[in-house]
Amino acid sequence: MRLLTVLLLAFLASAALTSAYIVVGSGEVRERAFLTVLITPLLWAGFMVYAYWDRKAWRPAATCAGIIAVCSALIVAAPPLAP
């Protein structure tokens, strides 16, 4: 379970979280894009460490899965950005 979180869910969760921020966050799109590109590696590494931090192996996986689900819903529901 931890390995799955490290290898897959951590990346998907960080990408989903930052993509959702671009779509629904406040401020200029350009500024949001810059911020997300900067933050993604930190989030990705953070989720990987969290996978082994928590005593229960399922908790980091569930957290990542939850983030992916919520952010995906936000992205689908929000209208696409216009340049």
């Binding site: 930052t18 799109v29 590109v37 993604t40 590696p41 460490v49």
Partner: protein
């Protein structure tokens, strides 16, 4: 910290380090070498080095105009960039792409490269030796020289990410960092010495390692992340995403106009910006919508460069004021832009001159040693400890393989200087010869290390050979330079590189010759002999 958590995080630290250790070492080593791209470029270009001088330059517009006019009518140009001369590179360089007009009923031609250099004082076209030494040494770090650069860059970005994870887990697992800063048990077992070296270097250089890992991860992953963001936020429309982030590209009006003199635009920008211009991007050159983007070389701030836009017909300042103004900071940049601007400069050490690069060499070497000792400790614990499921012989083979991969990079790198200067090849074959020399030497060293049972003798031989080759770079340069004198003031960049190679060569020679003394059998109190080399560096 809870004991189980400590154990889990240590496991993550150990396994990420072990699985990716060699890859991290390769990326770290090649990255340390790649810091000197400008110096390598100058060193290898023997024909252009004679053009290095600090005199008066002729205006470049006549050269550019004449060159562009040599193409058939209707040819379109894209990404035109004019590199301006400097004290060490006294030539203009124009590069970009051109597309020939499509004949009736035929498909449009494929874009082709433009790459031409002119002597800055005479305007004479200079010969091009093609890509070689500098290109290889930098791009092996940037994208591992893979045919698909995006994949290569992404993999290097993954190395940064793994390093980031290793650093975070390392901080949590090493809870006595202050004590480890000053712990180096010289004279004890090899495993303890490696462990102490690993911990002490990790602790002392922690801010640098964190910065280089983060900026490396960002620079590598951005090539994959941007398309992902475009797909999500703009329904896969990458052009819309790029337009939003970078701005709309300049479109041609289709009406010819007399271009504003490039030299005048550069002079005006240099005077108002307070920095030397390094190049000019020429958008829609010769059109009424032409625009110049003048790049200022910023070497005393945490910025790679700053640009000023100028109308390519009237010479007026265009829609965006300079990001840097004299005596100020990045007044027009947002926080995210400032951080992004700083990222490249931080990673490539472009903000503090040559002394900063020398500091980066030391810290980069510390990173390599930290990764290397980490790998050796992992093997050593299994080869001579109670943990590990494989046989001792298997662990010793892994140890030799690690040694070969890590040590092989040293002669592979230094040998390129000799091949570049002594092997005559055509310009378009130069990179291939350089590449095969590098890979061949590296692979040969790795194979040798796996068959030579005495690892210490192997390391010693490689260090001595690399040292001698490094010392020889200075005479090699002096004897094969041609007409130019190595002592001329304009050659100081190459001379600095030559002396750097000599110093590093002497260091390698010193360590190689002293290796036997370092790991000499030591008489212990009970009278028994402790042979440090008998473990992961076995004696024959």
């Amino acid at each position: 910290m809870e004991q189980q958590r400590h154990k889990r995080l240590y496991g993550l630290h150990e396994w990420t380090g072990n699985l990716f250790g060699l890859f991290l070492f390769v990326v770290s080593f090649t990255g340390t070498v790649a810091l000197f791209y400008d110096e390598f470029t100058f060193w290898e270009a023997t024909e252009l080095r004679s053009a290095a001088y600090a005199g008066e330059y002729i205006a470049p517009e006549s050269l550019v105009d004449a060159h562009l006019a040599s193409y058939p009518e209707g040819t379109t140009f894209a990404n035109l960039f004019l590199r301006l001369p400097s004290e060490t590179a006294g030539y203009y360089e124009l590069f970009g792409r051109h597309t020939a007009p499509a004949a009736d009923g035929e498909a449009a031609s494929k874009p082709e490269d433009i790459n031409v250099r002119w002597h800055a004082a005479t305007g004479a076209e200079l010969n091009d030796r093609g890509d070689g030494l500098a290109h290889w040494l930098v791009d092996i770090h940037r994208h591992l020289m893979l045919p698909n650069r995006t994949i290569g860059r992404f993999l290097v970005g993954i190395a940064g990410l793994v390093m980031l994870v290793s650093i975070i887990t390392g901080i949590f697992t090493h809870q006595k960092i202050l004590k480890e800063l000053f712990t180096l048990r010289v004279g004890r077992s090899k495993r303890l010495q490696w462990k102490d070296t690993h911990n002490a270097l990790g602790a002392w250089a922690l801010p640098f390692h964190g910065m280089i890992a983060f900026s490396g991860a960002y620079l590598g992953l951005v090539v994959i992340l941007l398309p992902v963001f475009a797909m999500v936020a703009f329904n896969g429309d990458q052009e819309a995403a790029i337009e939003t982030v970078i701005g709309k590209p300049v479109e041609a009006a289709g009406v010819a106009a007399s271009p504003y003199p490039i030299s005048d635009a550069v002079q005006a920008v240099e005077e108002s910006g307070g920095y030397r211009a390094s190049g000019v991007r020429l958008d829609q050159y010769g059109d009424t919508n032409a625009r110049y983007e003048v790049f200022l070389e910023i070497d005393d701030r945490l910025l790679l460069s700053s640009t000023v836009r100028v109308d390519g017909v009237t010479g007026e300042g265009a829609d965006r004021a300079p990001m840097i103004i004299e005596g100020g900071g990045q007044e027009n940049a947002t926080v995210a832009e400032q951080v992004l601007n700083a990222m490249v400069a931080l990673h490539y050490a472009t903000y503090g001159g040559i002394w900063l690069k020398i500091l980066y060499i030391g810290l980069g070497a510390a990173l390599c040693i930290m990764v290397g000792t980490g790998l050796m400790v992992w093997v050593e614990r299994r080869a001579n400890g109670s943990i590990g499921n494989l046989s001792r012989q298997t662990y010793l083979r892994i140890s030799r393989l690690n040694t070969g991969v890590m040590m092989g990079l040293l002669p592979a790198t230094v040998l390129l200087f000799y091949v570049d200067r002594l092997v005559p090849v055509a310009a378009d074959e130069r990179l291939t010869v350089i590449g095969w020399t590098y890979l061949g030497t590296w692979i040969a060293c790795t194979l040798l290390s796996t068959v030579i049972p005495n690892s210490r003798a192997f390391v010693r031989t490689v260090l001595i050979a690399s040292g001698v080759l490094g010392i020889g770079v200075l005479p090699l340069d002096a004897l094969t330079l041609g007409d130019a004198s190595l002592l001329a003031p304009a050659q100081r960049t190459a001379l600095g590189l030559d002396f750097g190679a000599v110093l590093l060569g002497l260091l390698a020679l010193f360590v190689g010759l002293g290796l036997n003394r370092l790991y000499a059998p030591k008489v212990q109190r009970g009278g028994s002999l402790e042979r440090a080399g008998a473990t992961a560096l076995p004696q024959s």
